[in-house]
């Protein structure tokens, strides 16, 4: 992939003591990215024993977000301006994650990767339940000839994660060069509008 947009070189611009409101954005980006990473670790633990791919994906995302947070924090402490290409990549990735979350919880497109593919308090998952006990299930389970996954309802953890990621989106946008911001916020506006249109037309829901 090539970057065709000129980038602002890393430099000591933040050392000149920008107003307090401006200093808040880098920290907001760093902390929200790290918090999202922490929430994804929690989500990974929440899904252990249900689907290894989901757990692996959550851990991958968590470490990337924690890395982003640490990198941003180090940049602030060092007084360096983060590389714009990396900021753009982080922004794009975070928006993609938000989109994935919305699609996963409002459509069945990703149901195959969702949880609840088995019974049991810790999901029997097609194994043998202990004899003499009643069935413990969490959420809907398809009573098929083989385990079938279904869409997982959105819970507080997911809502908190996506809200934190939106803070990251906002903060990363603020960190972009001024001439990029208008373009990016317009693009985000279009994505947001498209999301609502898809919901209103029944594609999402």
């Amino acid at each position: 992939m090539t970057a065709t947009v000129p980038t602002t070189p890393a430099g000591p611009e933040l050392q000149d003591g920008p107003p307090r409101g401006h200093r808040a954005w880098p920290w907001a980006a760093a902390l929200s990215a790290a918090a999202s990473g922490g929430l994804h670790i929690a989500a990974a633990f929440d899904h252990v024993g249900t689907h290894d791919v989901v757990v692996g994906f959550f851990l991958l995302v968590a470490f990337a977000q924690l890395g982003l947070g640490v990198w941003l924090a180090m940049s602030i402490v060092a007084g360096l301006r983060p590389d714009v290409r990396l900021l753009a990549l982080a922004l794009l990735s975070t928006v993609a994650l938000v989109g994935l979350y919305v699609v996963a919880h409002t459509t069945d497109l990703l149901a195959a990767f969702q949880v609840h593919d088995g019974g049991g308090g810790t999901h029997h998952g097609g194994g043998t339940a202990p004899q003499g006990t009643s069935t413990q299930t969490v959420g809907p389970v398809a009573l098929g000839l083989e385990p079938v996954a279904t869409r997982e309802p959105a819970g507080p953890l997911g809502a908190a994660t996506v809200a934190t990621e939106m803070v990251t989106v906002l903060a990363l946008t603020a960190l972009l060069p001024a001439r990029w911001r208008g373009w990016v916020t317009n693009a985000l506006l279009l994505v947001g509008a498209a999301t609502w249109v898809l919901w209103l037309t029944g594609v999402l829901g």
Binding site: G119, H124, S134, T135, T137, T185, V191, G192, L204
Partner: protein, 530 residues
């Protein structure tokens, strides 16, 4: 200098996506009006499928006093939704299973063969079964006792005396801890006992005597049944099934029909009415005919309750359609189409005019309805409750019974004794259809007032609604009659499976009526004969 910043307009632009990302997934979870995950185009529109009746099972062998039947409990792939394969459990590979018709005084032996898989493919439990003929005063070892389990590969002959009055019964699985799953997957069917008094009545018979087994189901993306017991509160489907068909339409002639309504749902209660406001004439309850028909426009049917009603289509113009609808009960989860049950389409077809009357007196009162509270030797109190997320009856569970080696009992009436049981549900969060095995009882009062009109007949299940208290009056067997241990439980099958069940004992408990050991199921190929 290019400082990090966002102005108000930028923030508003991004907030559109933020609001969508946070709100839409949550609302999708909260506002779902369907339980099923299958594409809605694969669900039939209500009233578009034809009505069917389960076949009547023919005996495989008869002798002078008994009819012998063979029923195989099988896993199979059937079709409930048009063009969609659904894995099911069924008696003889059908859902609901075949109807068995018996006559008073003539015994039946039903050989139940468990041919289910060794392990449930998705839930992971062993699908053992214990078949209960609900409504039959059977000996304990043939009553479908929880613990008298036939493992996959086992078979058992159930002996039924048919010594009760004419009535609508049903046979269904009662395997301990997995009744709900097994019944939800299809192990349920009707069983009718007729007698001379009922046959002599001019009420609808033959083609005009119609079983209506009502249930509900939800479907996964691939057509499999979807199971969600809402933390043991119950399974609620969004597709209403009548005799295994979603919202069917039945063509009827301009005459009276007798419908044997059975609520075979795991957890859904119904409040039925006809769309044109026409009344039902209730002629029979769980334990058989009422002495006089009761006219109601609204009929509450809890799980496992049976009501026989007569609907008269004589005054309806041919071509007109009437719907049987569900007003719903508290604490059953309603979806877009759970208010619909089935449709009747009145035709101008010729019909047999015989047996087209509901006489004002149907016969002498059932023995349970002749009991007087003054006859009761004992009055007992039963509290239906949920404590620490556990369903209990008087703070007891079936686990307590199991832990006590099946010895703990709630009551020990002697054969022929009469007792009053006051049953109370103080909760506002759920209702409990309470089933007492073996006996027919009289509902004396509901919240201190007379019972509903449709309850003025012999019952074996009573709907104990939120915050309600009902008084029951019953006689336990008779001197020299059957004795032993029988179950009492909530017929919300999720509650039952999660231990809302206890037992009582009539007279002595002896080895020859031990519900687990007196007639245990057997492995191996069953003999050709009986």
């Amino acid at each position: 200098m290019d400082l990090p910043s966002l102005d108000r307009r930028d923030m508003l632009k991004v907030s559109l996506l933020g609001a969508a990302a946070v709100a839409l997934p949550v609302q999708a979870s909260l506002t779902a009006k369907s339980a099923s995950r299958i594409a809605s185009r694969k669900l039939p529109r209500p009233y578009t499928l034809p009505f069917t009746k389960p076949p009547v099972l023919a005996p495989t062998y008869t002798d002078a006093a008994t009819d012998y039947y063979v029923v195989r409990q099988q896993a199979f792939v059937g079709r409930i939704l048009p063009g969609v394969d659904t894995p099911l459990f069924g008696y003889n590979g059908m859902v609901p299973g075949p109807t068995i018709k018996a006559s008073h005084g003539r015994g039946t032996v039903v050989r139940q063969i468990n041919e289910l898989p060794a392990v449930h493919p998705t839930l992971g439990y062993v699908p053992w079964t214990s078949t209960h003929l609900h409504g039959m005063p059977s000996e304990p070892q043939f009553d479908g006792y929880a613990g008298d389990n036939s493992q996959p590969g086992q078979w058992k002959d159930y002996h039924y005396p048919n010594n009760c009055e004419a009535r609508t019964l049903w046979y269904h699985d009662h395997g301990v801890h997995h009744t709900a799953e097994n019944v939800y997957m299809g192990l349920a069917a009707q069983y009718h006992v007729s007698d001379a008094a009922e046959q002599a009545l001019p009420i609808p018979k033959g083609d005009y005597d119609v079983p209506l087994t009502i249930g509900d189901a939800a479907f996964a993306e691939n057509g499999a049944l979807l199971w969600d017991d809402h933390s043991h509160s119950g399974v609620f489907g969004d597709v209403i099934l009548v005799n295994g068909v979603p919202w069917p339409t039945m063509k009827v002639a301009r005459r009276k029909y007798r419908f044997r309504i059975l609520n075979a749902s795991v957890a859904r209660g119904f409040r039925l009415r006809l769309s044109n406001g026409q009344p039902f004439q209730v002629i029979a309850t769980d334990g058989g005919l009422m002495s006089a028909p009761q006219t109601v426009t609204l009929l509450t049917v809890g799980m496992a309750e049976r009501y026989e009603v007569v609907i008269d289509f004589a005054a309806i113009t041919p071509g007109q359609k009437i719907q049987l609808v569900n007003n719903g009960v508290k604490n059953s989860i309603d979806y877009d189409h759970t208010g619909k049950i089935m449709q009747f389409e009145v035709t101008a077809d010729p019909f047999d005019p015989a047996n087209n009357t509901v006489p004002p007196v149907l016969g002498p009162a059932h023995p349970a309805m002749l009991l007087k509270p003054a006859e009761a030797k004992v009055k007992r109190y039963m509290r239906l409750n949920r404590t620490n997320s556990i369903w209990t009856i008087n703070d007891q569970t079936w686990k307590d019974v199991e832990d006590g080696d099946y010895e703990p009992i709630f009551a020990n009436p002697q054969p022929g004794d009469v007792e009053i049981w006051d049953v109370e549900n103080k909760s506002g969060g759920w209702f409990h259809p309470l089933h007492v095995h073996f006996v027919d009882f009289q509902v004396v009062s509901r919240n201190g007032r007379p019972p509903r009109p449709e309850e003025k007949g012999p019952k074996d299940v009573v709907y104990v609604g939120e915050g309600e208290k009902v008084r029951l009056l019953m006689r336990f067997s008779k001197p020299d009659g059957y004795h032993g241990r029988y179950m009492i439980h909530c017929h919300n099958l999720s509650h039952e499976d999660h231990d809302m069940m206890i037992q009582f004992q009539i007279g002595e408990h002896e080895p020859d009526c031990d519900p687990i050991n007196a007639a245990p199921p057997k492995y191996g190929a069953p003999p050709v004969g009986f």
